[in-house]
């Protein structure tokens, strides 16, 4: 495996805002790489920098071992699927897809062949003559994909590719994207603010906020070992508790809270953590019951059921802790039905020490 795209200490400023702040990234070839972050975190700017639509103030961009920092877009082996697709409204589906090849001066016969092949790949045969305005959202999306992929880019950039689609279509297109990537064997770099999308599609994810990279890793790594509570909250649902480290005892770390009883988390004094910390527990790790469990969980907090939400195969309990914080617990439907809990009922929230994560309250930049 070699590196397909490398960003080396890239800085980009828009006016007074650092849109991209000292970002260094190495994306492997053939990888499905997602950049995840809230809007305004600089993720779209990174795509534009790779595409050559923006130039970095500092730092370098390398595509396939070639420094392309100052190259214009048409000299880069990169194509982009824009947010809202940016299809040319006055050109037919065929003309849209053929646009890049035509600009490159390909022979007409080759264009005809490549475009037909591409339209078959995205399952749009028979719609060649339609205008983009006459297509559904999903079809427009596929035209945008075909228009980029027909140029055989080394890297395909996708800016919020599924954001404009409804829930069902989105799931369909997720599978479609994976299939397309296998077939064209290009590196896909995808920008999204949908964490489930990133988790499902990606080989690796970079989490961004405020122009900075917070963490880069596989979905599993980021989900299980977030470097900060920001990352934890951005990836998957999280229950959060702020406190201070009181002591370390036997591989466990005791975190004290102003109101609630102290909690135990895995941790040793070798960790550099000190003082203010955040404890994060995933909702599926939390056990909620009316009476104290016999299992002897390491942690127990008192709470009151605030809301009960059914979501098909599980029940999500929202419970209010004594410090007014709302925590969530996801319980399989069978378990929830055997011992149902009602709104307003006092309950115990319990979990094992190894299922909580202790993270610095103020993360250091990575």
């Amino acid at each position: 495996m070699n590196e397909s795209v490398v960003l080396d200490k890239v800085i980009k400023t828009h006016g007074l805002v650092r849109a991209v702040d000292h970002v260094s990234l190495a994306i492997q070839s053939g990888e499905f790489f997602s950049i995840l972050g809230p809007s305004g975190s600089g993720k779209t700017t990174i795509l534009r920098l790779i595409a050559g639509l923006d130039r970095p103030d500092q730092g370098d961009i390398v595509i396939q071992q070639r420094v392309v920092t100052l190259d214009p877009p048409h000299k880069r082996p990169v194509n982009m699927v824009f947010q809202h697709y940016a299809l040319f409204p006055h050109l037919s589906v065929f003309e849209n897809v053929a646009f890049g090849l035509q600009m490159k001066g390909e022979r007409q016969a080759n264009i005809q062949k490549a475009v037909s092949h591409m339209l078959a790949l995205v399952r749009l045969q028979g719609k060649e003559k339609r205008l983009p305005g006459q297509l559904s959202g999903g079809e427009q999306q596929r035209v945008a994909l075909a228009r980029a992929l027909v140029n055989r880019p080394v890297v395909l950039l996708l800016d919020e590719p599924l954001a404009a689609l409804d829930q069902q279509l989105r799931q369909e297109m997720q599978g479609e994207l994976k299939r397309l990537q296998r077939e064209v064997k290009a590196t896909f770099i995808c920008v999204t603010h949908q964490q489930d999308e990133a988790l499902m599609l990606s080989d690796r994810i970079a989490v961004m906020q405020g122009g900075k990279l917070l963490q880069v890793g596989t979905p599993q790594e980021i989900y299980d070992h977030p470097v900060s509570s920001t990352v934890a909250q951005f990836i998957g649902l999280s229950n959060v508790l702020s406190g201070t480290i009181a002591s370390y005892e036997g591989g466990l770390c005791r975190v004290e809270h102003e109101v609630l009883s102290p909690v135990m988390v895995m941790g040793s004094p070798h960790d550099t953590l000190q003082g203010a910390v955040t404890v994060v527990v995933r909702p599926e790790r939390v056990h909620v019951s009316a009476d104290m469990s016999v299992k002897g969980y390491d942690n127990m907090l008192q709470a009151i059921v605030h809301q009960v939400a059914f979501s098909g195969n599980e029940v999500v309990y929202h419970v209010r802790l004594r410090d007014e914080a709302i925590w969530m617990a996801r319980v399989p439907i069978a378990e929830a039905q055997s011992s149902p809990l009602a709104v307003g009922q006092p309950v115990y929230v319990q979990w094992w020490a190894q299922e909580g994560m202790v993270l610095p309250a103020h993360p250091a930049p990575c």
């Binding site: 214009p72 299809l87 040319f88 490159k104």
Partner: protein
């Protein structure tokens, strides 16, 4: 895109009426329709009918109108001398429209893509000349272009010329005046059209290997056609009938239709012939309008 622009131009009143009849409160709609029809009838159709009536009458011995019906005025419209003036007008108006489009597009592009703040400033700058009377502004061009005018003295003082160029009272001076006068009417519709083109489409073109020229030719230009059509109509029609500009900057020799009509009414005092000429001009404009509408409808794929 092309088709909708053309249709919108060709049948604006139709859509307006449809929109009006859609509203639920029927009474105020009817009232406004009636008052609008009254207004149009009184101030537009009535004078038009009067002028048409005059165009069928004969000129009195000392000017004035003698009510003897005749087609003679319309026969005179096809006089070769009128033809020369007609084609000069057509040519100058066409060239004016073309140059306004060429000069206006970059300006309109800057305006459309400027930040809100700059857009306001630039739009105001485009509009400021309208605060001054058109006649005064055209006179200013006389001061610039005449033999001892600003331009000639500047060129002589710079040593680029030995003796002044005769710029005033040529087709060139008329043309300059027309472009100056009607440029804003091209720029404003173009700004509207360009604002509707997402900048992302330009990015997409660049990403798909288009050069600056390729992007312009294949994306910006075709998508700006509604603006060009609207601006073209707004520039072409008034410059075809313009009379102040050709009168002041063209002198007596380089007449255009507008000046010619004005002279028939006020100098030759031949109201019937002037009226017939006016109807000839209107007929030409309507014919061109119709042809424009036809071509845009044909291009419409739906």
């Amino acid at each position: 895109m092309v088709g909708t622009g053309g249709n919108g131009l060709a049948r604006p009143s139709c859509t307006m009426l449809n929109n009006l009849s859609d509203t639920s409160s029927a009474f105020p709609v009817k009232l406004s329709l009636v008052s609008a029809s009254l207004f149009l009838g009184l101030f537009f159709f009535l004078p038009l009918i009067l002028v048409f009536g005059v165009s069928l009458a004969s000129r009195g011995l000392y000017g004035g109108i003698t009510w003897i019906a005749t087609w003679e005025n319309y026969q005179r419209v096809f006089d070769p001398l009128v033809g020369v003036i007609f084609f000069r007008s057509l040519f100058l108006a066409g060239l004016t429209t073309f140059i306004c489009a060429v000069v206006g597009f970059p300006l309109a592009y800057c305006l459309a893509r400027a930040s809100r703040h700059w857009q306001l400033i630039l739009l105001t700058l485009v509009m400021i000349p309208f605060w001054t009377n058109f006649l005064v502004r055209t006179y200013a061009w006389v001061l610039i272009l005449r033999a001892d005018g600003i331009l000639n003295s500047l060129l002589i003082r710079l040593g680029l010329l030995d003796e002044p160029l005769s710029l005033l009272f040529t087709d060139l001076s008329v043309f300059v005046g027309l472009v100056y006068g009607y440029l804003p009417f091209m720029v404003l519709p173009l700004v509207v059209a360009i604002e509707r083109i997402s900048p992302q489409l330009e990015d997409a073109a660049f990403d798909l290997y288009a050069s600056m020229g390729g992007m312009f030719r294949h994306v910006l230009l075709p998508l700006s056609i509604p603006g060009f059509l609207a601006g073209g109509v707004l520039v072409f029609i008034p410059s075809l009938g313009a009379f102040i500009t050709p009168y002041l900057l063209g002198g007596g020799q380089n007449m255009m239709l507008g000046t010619f009509i004005q002279q028939e009414f006020l100098v030759a005092r031949d109201w019937p012939f002037g009226s017939a000429l006016s109807f000839g001009l209107m007929g030409t404009v309507l014919l061109l309008w119709f042809l424009l509408g036809r071509t845009s409808v044909e291009k419409d794929p739906s």
